[in-house]
């Protein structure tokens, strides 16, 4: 049963510019693992070297933050939408302005 994952703008270069992708899985963890297998370029942006979800990336199941549900063990039902919300600051290139 495929669920929709909404891809935020900064990560769309890694999903072939798609803003939403359908992925299989019964938990958030499974869905994200399948997502990063299909779109390998996403992996370093979502996971650190130890394989943990990066904390400047938030994952929502519908409108709830998974941190307050069961995190990656959160079960996913048909029709649920998963959103990836990264932090953005806009403006200057932090490498050069600061």
């Amino acid at each position: 049963m495929a669920n929709k994952i909404l891809i935020p703008t900064p990560l769309r270069p890694f999903t072939g510019k798609q803003d939403a992708v359908e992925v299989d899985g019964t938990t958030i963890g499974e869905l994200l693992a399948n997502l990063t297998t299909t779109y390998a370029g996403l992996k370093p942006h979502l996971y650190n070297e130890q394989g943990k979800l990066r904390s400047f990336v938030n994952v929502y199941l519908n409108d709830e933050d998974i941190r307050y549900l069961e995190k990656e063990k959160t079960a996913v039902k048909p029709g649920d939408t998963i959103s990836i919300i990264p932090s953005v600051a806009g403006g200057a290139d932090s490498d050069f302005r600061f």
């Binding site: 990066r54 403006g91 932090s94």
Partner: protein, 385 residues
């Protein structure tokens, strides 16, 4: 604070509305908002706050108006290019509404000055353009008990919320850690739809006005996400994190810290923040590149910018593989030649170079300064953008 006859005429459309009325307008007149930044977000926000009659508007900015700002920073005009943004903003705001006070602070916000700067104001409006300042603004707001009307943008997507209220979440409840520098592209690299900060900045001003008047339902505990291309608004629930190091039940951050260090950004004194162990083996510059091209040396020049940037201008002999496609197209990059990677300014190409080294490439160099430096020093016919 009673309204003068001129003010009554000016704010009449507010006064005849029960949600504002004389009482609300007087609250606005007594109220004060500090705008961090007079750029994309600060421009519309300050304009509408001034129009609404917020009595004191403070602005913090140390930048100068540039042509590329005018596509979205509507508080500035063509004749202001080269002027300080503060001077330009102050003139425009007082022309719009001479009854208010504009206080300007031509400085970079830092841990040394933030608390003193924020103290006199009712609401802080975060219109900044980098992560260290966002965390600094958030922490200072929590420590002082000042609400933070937050807004941020990227290309054609925006976010807005109200952080740092007593019972609501703060920025760190949502994002406890900043991304490493260079992982999230900036407006200069990613571009931004000019109208986008207009919407988000005005939303921030709306929230500031509601907070001052105490009306409506502010975005406390609510994260508004706006997609301009699809014209969709979504709302996500935000919770105050009881373990938040700044606003939680047992805070560990009780004073402002070094935010550049927190965000892993090199200090202002270094020109290029990308630090590598052996600079002369991992970096090269545009003059060396020119020498190689003229000597017809055999190497591979990789451009990791986006196709529309490639159309604006390119370095001769380069091959375009946009950064996001590099993992899939790594087979197109020869392993037996020297690889020189470039982008617009040197940030994205540094990441691509690191990635290639991780994939076993032994001879990869990042072009310092990117195509902008090439245009500056080698070929000015290549347009800067």
């Amino acid at each position: 604070m009673a309204l003068t006859n001129d003010e009554v005429k000016r704010y009449s459309r507010h006064l005849i509305m029960p949600e504002v009325g004389v009482e609300g307008q007087e609250k606005l007149k007594k109220g004060s908002v500090l705008c961090i930044g007079a750029g994309g977000l600060g421009s519309p926000a300050a304009l509408y706050l001034a129009a609404a009659g917020v009595g004191t508007i403070g602005i913090v900015d140390f930048d100068v108006v540039d042509f590329s700002n005018l596509q979205r920073q509507v508080i500035h005009g063509t004749s202001d290019v080269g002027r300080s943004k503060l001077a330009s903003a102050k003139d425009r705001l007082l022309e719009l509404n001479p009854h208010i006070t504009i206080e300007t602070y031509e400085t970079a916000l830092s841990s040394k000055n933030a608390l003193d700067l924020f103290k006199p104001y009712d609401v802080i409006l975060d219109g900044t353009d980098n992560f260290p300042t966002r965390y600094l603004t958030n922490d200072a707001c929590v420590l002082l008990g000042k609400p933070n009307a937050y807004g941020s943008i990227f290309r054609f997507e925006g976010q807005a919320s109200v952080f740092a209220t007593k019972d609501g979440p703060c920025y760190r409840c949502l994002y406890p850690e900043p991304p490493p520098p260079g992982l999230v592209p900036s407006c200069a690299e990613g571009g931004v739809l000019g109208v986008l900060p207009g919407v988000i900045g005005t939303i921030q001003a709306t929230e500031a006005i509601k907070l001052i008047m105490g009306v409506g339902e502010p975005l406390i505990g609510r994260f508004l996400i706006y997609d301009a291309l699809r014209m969709k608004f979504r709302e996500l629930k935000l919770k105050k994190d009881p373990d938040c190091p700044v606003c939680g039940t047992h805070p560990t951050v009780t004073a402002l810290i070094d935010y550049e260090q927190f965000c892993g950004v090199a200090p202002v004194t270094t020109e290029v923040a990308v630090s590598t162990a052996n600079s002369n083996e991992t970096e090269t510059d545009v003059k060396a590149l020119k020498r190689k091209i003229d000597a017809k040396e055999d190497f591979f020049l990789l451009d990791v910018r986006e196709p529309n940037e490639f159309q604006i201008g390119r370095i001769p002999g380069s091959t375009l593989i946009p950064l996001g496609e590099v993992p899939q197209r790594v087979g197109e990059i020869p392993r037996d030649k020297e690889i020189i990677v470039h982008c617009k300014m040197g940030g994205r190409s540094a990441r691509a170079a690191d990635y290639l080294r991780q994939q076993g490439y032994t001879n990869v160099k990042n072009l310092k300064g990117g195509i902008l430096d090439w245009s500056d020093k080698i070929d000015p016919s290549v347009p800067k953008y």
